[in-house]
Subunit: 165 residues, 2 copies
């Protein structure tokens, strides 16, 4: 669906130097968002996804699987990535996402989502941008989730959402 | 997190022949689920994910991005995969997922999620299973989303959820 060539970093950096004080996205830029998932979030996600896996609700099931407590759904944690991207670039179209679930996320954990632009290519007045995506526990910096995303952005002007860090 | 070797298909097939009439998962088995996403689902997902990208709500934003109508969030459609797996194997732990969003999903589209076991390995009385995962539009068979998932299953005995096809 996407061509596999991206603007090399040095080309992109030189292109963006002229607007270094603007809020134009360039390779290397990092977008962040913090979130603490509640038990209401877990229930709300189960209702909309129909995913009532007991691992997310039942202490005994969680312990049998080797966890301290019921887990927040990994795909709910993952939803931080398109949210971070689209809140900075409304109208962004998601093309792909890889997800590696590294460590459990529990209700009440303070999670920091970090999205970094790693490549960028202009096509037909839109921008195909690759991002590295990860979530860490805010205090311990333990990696809980990582991967890569690709999105088509309508432009490179970043909004600064009120919730961002 | 996961070792990279899986039981070769011929080994697995021979192991499972003795219980061919049971509901024990084997490589090649396919799990399915159909779902029609509603505008309430899209709103519910936005509430829990905080993803209010106008692409999912505003006709003009969707048209500007080249779509006929507002889109169902791709990550909501993706939630069919862990749901399909965990409804057949309660207690399943998600390890990874890749997602390629190929075509738009609109409210009212009849979507079929298809998950097929492609490799399987036993470790410490649990099973690491790789699945191919895809969603198609039920009537046209248009591919809307595909990728791969890896999950740790507590056992290989498949439940038959009432909603499965």
């Amino acid at each position: 669906m996407l061509a596999k060539t991206f603007v090399p970093r040095h080309v992109l950096v030189s292109r963006c130097f002229s607007s270094v004080n603007s809020k134009t996205l360039k390779v290397g830029d990092v977008l962040r968002e913090a979130r603490v998932f509640t038990s209401e979030d877990v229930k709300g996600y189960a209702e909309v996804s129909h995913d009532w896996n007991p691992l997310h609700f039942d202490q005994e099931s969680a312990r049998k699987a080797g966890f301290e407590n019921p887990l927040v759904h990994g795909m709910l944690v993952s939803s931080m990535f398109p949210h971070i991207i689209s809140s900075h670039f409304p109208g962004a179209v998601y093309v792909s996402q890889t997800l590696h679930f590294r460590s459990p996320v529990y209700v009440g954990d303070d999670i920091l989502g970090i999205v970094q632009a790693t490549a960028l290519r202009e096509t037909k007045n839109k921008y195909i941008v690759k991002f590295s995506t990860k979530c860490i526990k805010k205090h311990s910096e333990l990696l809980v989730l990582d991967g890569d995303a690709t999105a088509i952005l309508p432009n490179l002007e970043m909004l600064q959402p009120s919730h961002s860090e």
